[in-house]
Symmetry: D4
Subunit: 223 residues, 8 copies
């Protein structure tokens, strides 16, 4: 067997360097690997955000570690050792096309919450019933940063981007079937939108959109 | 060399059978093949619609045949031996996202014109400036059949489909670049639209949308 | 946690606006989300169509809600609170290539039934045994609107489109394996058919084809 | 510079081994490379078939070599130093959907001709006008081997395969646009056909289909 | 509910027309649909071949029908009501790259067996250990028809096609991982082989290759 | 011919609505269409940004219109009727992997310039020679917003995103060949970066990145 | 049933020919097939490496065979009948981006171990926290051969290839989601790297990288 | 306009760091950019290798720079200011499937030549005429490193990898048509080869394979 270091090498300097902590992406890690990382974090008394942790894997974690996790089933996220910073006022709007996009909205909101940032959710304002979006557009416009979450054909991104001047971050979701299965269509709709200056993250990446929002909020102090 | 019949085998019974004449798709035919078909049609005194005839190929056709062609450069269509039926009132709305979609709109309109059907064009009502579409939506709504033409992310299809109850036929165009290059994105947006009951044809297929409109108008007599 | 409104925002004005009610697409919703929507609908005494509801998810719905559902296993559809309108005579032909396409045919028929429209099913007339289709073609031709359902290489669409002058709506299905797995091939066959004026919806989208048929039937009143 | 042998290494034993001679595929070779190969062949007095030789490249060949080439522009094929065997009666039917497929039909016919085998061409029997195929099906059925050539959605393959019991070799062509651009759709239609026992070659590969026909005819002597 | 005919429409004239019987492709049919078809066949005393019938679905068939099925687990095929014709001598060679391809080889062999044709299997002659193929090549060469079965990069097809002059039918399999997952790579290798005149069927389609072999054997009588 | 309005419908209210003016994307428009739009703009005395205007199309514009265009060949952009606002200090860093990415960098810079925003270009800091980036990282870090431009495998995005806490907008370019041809690889690298909170626009979309930067700079006033 | 040889044809001469033994790829083989191969190997007293053997399949192997297997769960590899050669000093560095890549690293290490070659593992040196790689780069540089293992956007390959002059073999992994799902992105990043002279193997192919390393080490004796 | 440094930032330390000099990839650079780079190199008296320089771009370079270029048309490479090191004996075998692959072979050979390494070319040993490869295999086997160059279905890689124990680097080429157009098929064949331990570079990347060979030759000193 190869010589190796059993411990993961955590990037604990990340927050000092770029203002964001390292999250533990659990999807491709087995329960043993996650447990080893959590023990390291506990020794260093560093709170951590876990993402893409499904409930079966959670059940295979040691009981004591599980007890220190504030787990949310819908978003598959966990706060280990509390949050990084206490909450602040809502600075971000999260706008979504339909109830099927709720897990991704929640992942974004939980990531913000862990970093002490609040969010307001505008759910189910898909553009087939355009009045639902128009009814709330003035409220949405007041936020400097809007996270827009949509699957299927992703038409919400273009309509929204044409109506508000805020920084808009599109999060395409894998909600869809047939030619929209998997989220590529919604992703490409965001990238090709006629609305100028839309920005995009990976499919279902509510975490990434929230991190971008944190970069946005952090740089305000610098400017 | 194989034994062969130099003449194309035209489907002259098509109109009697399904109410539509055979068009001559020129894209993959050389000038000699097109000329041979036109001569056959002239002998039978059958007017014909030519599609996807570019101007260089047109220039290589014999002078006498060229003289009998009513050619339109923007749509690359030609009427050979006149139109099939004289014009009627406008029965179809053609709605498009931007001026770049004009060639496809025109192909649809010319196909309708050849069959004696008029159309009204609502151009440049892309949804980034949503007011442009909303301003004209009541006019559009009055048509029982709407042909919607859009490239890029194709968000027009969903917005339109949510606002009018007419039969809506989406024609995705190859207008776009990067991930929307070639028209697949717009096509898939039409197919995956949240607006219920949208129908779609192939990319840049203004001719096909017009044929479907003709089927629609023909069936009225049956109901 | 973000501030949010626990209720879905239903587009109850949709029927007045475009003549179609909003259906509940259950595929990406969890049982709790579906139950919440059904309760809203019950309060408003609005009948609803549910699509893509599999039997396991059905079993997780509260007993009382389940009791108000007329569920069909093959098509995975449910009528909640009855149908929207009582039945009328058959106005639509549904033609399919093989018995494997039955679930999609049934989804289309159930959507029509919910809206009070009847349909006649011509099943198993795939073109490998061409006589099966030719034997029934005169019957099919009498319908102003034909929904054609086929998987694999989708050759049925072209043959049918060349034989009838009605409005033909192709529904590609995901029946197939190897290069036809997933339904893309059948979809593209419909889009590229040599038969002029074929129209297409998303893969396995019997619901969408039926909605287009309803648009068609509704506009007849307008013309 | 690397040490190298300027001459191509011809597989002159191929005919003895598998009954087929090596053809010179000119598409990716420059005129100098083709000329060098032709000179080798002339020294060995070996007749050769050239494929995918466009007319500009032909013009760049030395005059004396060009003089020994029997070139056909439509199929882009050349016979260098005569044919391999004098002609025989027609043993193969070549059936095609439309005139746009003519270059591929001709490549197959020329390959057969070079090897002394005749072919009969049934052109323009695409299935949108089904009567054209049905009118000639009894003639086609008499051939033990049928080469079927079609682009677009390739529905011809399935209809034909359901009507004749001969060995059917499908040659998909790159004729098409939008989703059928490039020939993949027609290829996949051939591979996924409901008609049992269809065989397929690469897109636009008339040469390959003819070689398979030669294998077929050669093995008859063995059985 | 739509009016419909509960029975499948079997193409019982197929054997008279093209020399092949209709097989029952079970993959996308539920047990009820299969049972209904088998009952129809039993009434007509027609033996049938079932393909892609997995063992769970088999277990859900009624006991009496199951009793009349000669089922083979590896190939997922069944003979219902005996075979069509008693066995003959081996006329076909089946050559495969590795033991992982065994299910597809067996599907081809069983299809031939049902139609009364024998086959000899040359297994595990993949070209990484080239001696294994060269050792048996003279035996293989004696068969007028060779079915070659391979997954991964499908190099067997090209080597074999360059060594034998028989008609070679390539059956790509879905054996592979990473970029060869699903069988597309092997399929494309067969289609693009430098060996002239290779023919191909769909991925994992042992049944199709056997049907082509039956067409080949049937046509012998005609020439 | 259809009734139509020859003029394009400009979205002149866009700046008031979202703080950005409509640009004229010239790629899919013919010279006549562009000229018509410019004349409309001149009548309204509205300065405009033109993008993707190649030099041949420029040469086909009427002489008087051409005279009012400040054209830049490398970026294919033009300022018509001057810029929208006079220049300000540099607020944005543009960082690029290699000299081949220069046209896209310039498109971003010109879009900013048109809107009165300056930029500093850090060119040729690709990560194969990592010292080039590390040498300038402290300078880059001082900008609240960084536009990162890279083709090929796009590794620059991840390295940069791990080193700076600013808002980073990745612009993938179509520079590459083989598997990186067209820019998809670089795009996907940006979307999948391990560096948290990276944002992305369409391939070669320097214009879009600049528009996002303008949204960012505009929103500062709100927070 | 076809006549066949029940035994697999092992390529036992492979080591003499190319210095590598044949491994048993278990992924597409059933337990019966694997057992048959192991029995053959036991008769010949040949030790063997098994790859992609999951634990359920292992459990279905006969007890006696299982007892002779040194199985490793993480890498899904087994040594049957011991290793081929006793261990030597570490000659290869295995460098990986994150803990999720551990199974592929281990497959490479186990393959080397079976052939008597040691390896040192540098885990978790992904480039988002660049200091982790820079801290260990001098150690890594001392190895003539480096196996680099990474999923997601695969930026590690380019950074590493620009820092060390050793032969670098990239092993892309299927770790990722959204656009990086399945490993294609990481593979293409390795193939398109700006760092000159990177070499690549198939996705998740730790076994292949180790075999290449063995070829490398074997040729040292030759040079 | 943005502030920028007109000079490219050359990585002149690269040779000291990893033993390879930076080459100038000309494909996406305009003549002005190339000229600027060459002038920088001349000032530093650094010889350089130029790749993918087509003859039209060459013609647009200033006359004096052109005079210092040793240009090779077939491989589109240039040596500027002489070679880096004088020639050594041949240490690498370059094996190719056909004459169409000659440009890529030459690019590899020229890259080696620039760095003072010789190569022997084994051209036209494609495996359809297997005797051509077998005839020369003992010669090839004597080289510790083999660069294998092939397009189409890339079967050469697997056959060669099964016959020699040297380090084999596959260079897939874009030679092919239909499903092998562009080189993806050949690339995937190399990646998925059954022959263990094959290594691959990007499509048409003769330069990259040569750089890997240089890494290989450089590391000999370390072991």
């Amino acid at each position: 067997m190869p010589e190796q270091n059993p411990d993961a090498v955590l990037d604990l300097q990340r927050e000092a360097r770029i203002g964001l902590t390292e999250a533990v992406l659990c999807e491709h890690k087995c329960a043993d690997q996650i447990a080893a990382i959590l023990r390291q974090l506990r020794e260093r008394a560093t709170p951590a955000l876990l993402t893409r942790l499904d409930s079966e894997k959670l059940a295979r974690l040691p009981h004591t570690l599980r007890g220190e996790l504030d787990f949310d089933d819908l978003s598959r996220t966990g706060f280990f050792g509390g949050v990084l910073r206490p909450g602040r006022d809502a600075a971000v709007a999260i706008v979504s096309g339909g109830t099927s996009d709720a897990p991704v909205c929640r992942e974004a909101a939980r990531t913000l919450e862990f970093h002490g940032v609040g969010a307001v959710l505008f759910q189910d304002v898909g553009i087939t019933g355009l009045w639902r979006l128009l009814e709330r557009i003035d409220e949405i416009r007041r936020f400097p940063l809007v996270i827009a979450v949509a699957g299927m054909e992703g038409a919400l991104f273009s309509v929204l981007g044409g109506l508000v001047g805020s920084l808009v971050i599109a999060v395409p979701t894998s909600v869809g079937y047939g030619v929209s299965q998997g989220g590529r269509l919604s992703l490409n709709a965001a990238l090709s939108s006629c609305a100028p200056g839309l920005l995009t993250v990976n499919i279902d990446n509510g975490y990434g959109a929230a991190c971008a929002a944190l970069r946005f909020l952090n740089t305000k102090k610098i400017v």
